[in-house]
Amino acid sequence: MLQGLQRRSIARAARLVAVAAGALATALAAAPGASATEPIKVGLAITQTGPYSPPAVYELQGYELAVEEINQAGGLLGRPVTLVKYDDQGNPSTAVQLYQKLITDDDVDLLLSPYQTDLTSAVAPVVNRARRVMPCLAANIEAFGGKYPYLIQAMTQTSRYMVPVVDLAAQKGYKTLSLLVQNTQFPQQLAEGVEKEAAAKGIKVVFKESYANTTTDFSALVLKAAESHPDIIVGATYLADSEGIMRAARAQNIDAKMFAFSIGPVEPEFDKALGDAADAVFGTTLYFPTLHTKGNPAFVKAFADKFGRQPTYHAALAYASFKVLAGAVAKVGSLDQTKIRDALLQTSEDTVAGHFQVDKTGIQIGYNSYALQWQGGKQQLVWPEGAATATPIIPHPAWK
């Protein structure tokens, strides 16, 4: 009786062991398979709501399109890619918390950058301390150049924004320039770039003055800027101040051979706000849908199909930034952050936004910018000549 019981329980134990071993074997066999389909998590926080959201939403859509295309092409390292995204509402401290969360709680595999230089600067220490590589859509160079070695600039650097405008002016033989600068970080760095480029091209800066970003009345400033009769009036501006300066020039019959602004004319609102006064004004852009860059027609079509609108430079740069990052990951063959960073530093690649290349400290040296001009209510790319969609109207016609 006892022996029978023992025998039965031994047999039962043996069966159990066998089942357990079988289960374990299956589990072990299945394990690599599971990780092969487990997605690569790509994390970011970006301004999806609030006053600063419109360009940021373009960037998010650029990222989303790139992720979708990579998944359609079989994923990354044989795994699908998912976006883990949060809304920083344009607030730097929220952005810092969210990147902390992405790195610790969500433990994402790759990071993408928020919109704008200020937010990138805010999250830079957190990202760099965690030794996570991040291609950044930030034009100012503070976060790069060795300060945060895991950050790579994936946007034209600020000081190069207006190079084509100055170049065009030099081609036309213009000699003098007045410079109006909003006293915030981006326009100031941009103005330094203009001064350097002007000096290199033999154009003299005859007037330079900065103004507070709350300025709404530009009449006296523009009057003063025009006193030395400069060939070119350049504004290192955003949208509202570029309109204010143009409006003051128009209302006081102030003429120059060229009016050019950094940010401002690139926005469709510039023309809506100024009507005739926007005509023949130059602006700057980092991308244009008609560019003959690699894969651009397909990108423009895919973006329009998916989101029902034309991509802006924000969308194109974001799209290119994730494509470049994915390319570096594929080259490295793993998610080793330091190796990916090193691969990005070596990358020299044509994208929809132009040629991506950084120096050994991560500062973007490949991407360029373009001069655009409003002509009869339409934006035309006018310089450099090779990429132009129209010839520039120059000099600026006198006010009627």
């Binding site: 006293n183 709404t216 009449s219 006296a220 009057l223 509202a240 409006r247 003051a248 006081q252």
Partner: protein
């Protein structure tokens, strides 16, 4: 000399624009001792409404002026009856609650505008040219806004001092209790004042958006600017506000020209502080009114 004259003209005209944007706040404060913190947001709302009327219907800001003013009149009425009249507390506590209510209102208005118009700066191309007066180019848009501002200021001043309704508004401002005991319907008078003040903000916005681009978050700055102006003039005082507006306009333009634009934004507040040190009641304010 021509430069000096041009700067004088520009300063006086910009003063008019600032006055236009502050008049509604001045009326509401004068009658109710309420600082409407949503004032700037009302201006922006009026402006963005004019922007849509221009974009969709081709209406000029002049044509949009009565529409924006009318709509804001209704909104002002609704706010007064629905919110401010519901605050029954008296004295400092009542003032604090009213202030908080208008502070909340500013968020409601700004975010409603954000949902309707998004966050981009908007503006209207209107009267962008210049009228040549001898050697001086006078900006058309500024001229029209300023003339209108002076017109409205004069009308309101006459209305307050010469008509029965105006006088009863004035009486309510001086003593609500006294006015009520004389048989005036002070609830109606307060509603009229708040609605009119709001309408003036909306109308101002419809015009000013053709000079200054508005964004839904611009409202806060405009409220501060308007409040600075009416405090400088002597809260609630009309000729005082006019004087203050011209002082600010001229100060700004001359500082911008002679000391630089960075100084201009600071000097305006230096003048403000200076005046308040020597005349705490404002330029034309009477002692004890505030």
């Amino acid at each position: 000399m021509i430069t000096f004259a041009t700067l004088c003209v520009l300063g006086l005209l910009w003063g008019g624009v600032y006055l236009l944007m502050a008049e509604g706040l001045n009326l509401i404060y004068g009658v109710m001792k309420v600082v409407n913190l949503a004032h700037g947001d009302f201006i922006v709302l009026g402006g963005l409404l004019a922007f849509s009327l221009f974009e969709r219907g081709g209406l000029t800001p002049i044509a949009a002026f009565p529409i924006a003013a009318g709509l804001l009149f209704l909104i002002g009425m609704a706010v007064q009856l629905g919110v401010l009249e519901q605050i029954t507390a008296q004295g400092p506590e009542g003032e604090l609650r009213t202030l908080l209510a208008t502070f909340g209102l500013s968020y409601v208005v700004a975010n409603a505008s954000f949902l309707l118009w998004g966050s981009q700066f908007q503006s209207i191309p209107f009267l962008q040219g210049a009228v040549q007066a001898g050697p001086i180019a006078v900006p058309e848009g500024l001229l029209v806004c300023s003339l209108l501002a002076f017109g409205v200021a004069l009308l309101v001043h006459v209305w307050l001092t010469r008509t029965i309704t105006g006088k009863s508004v004035h009486a309510t401002a001086q003593s609500a209790l006294g006015a009520a005991s004389c048989g005036l319907n002070i609830r109606r008078i307060r509603t009229l004042a708040f609605a009119l003040g709001s309408a003036m903000a909306g109308g101002a916005g419809a015009l000013v958006i053709s000079l200054i681009p508005f964004q839904t978050s611009t409202g806060g700055d405009l409220t501060v600017q308007a409040f600075t102006l009416i405090a400088l003039g002597g809260l609630g005082n009309y000729p005082g506000a006019w004087l203050a507006a011209e002082l600010l306009g001229l100060t700004e333009v001359f500082t911008q020209y002679y000391l630089g634009s960075n100084a201009a934004s600071a000097v305006v507040y230096v003048v403000f502080i200076g005046v308040l040190i020597f005349r705490p009641q404002g330029l034309l304010g009477r002692v004890g009114r505030v």
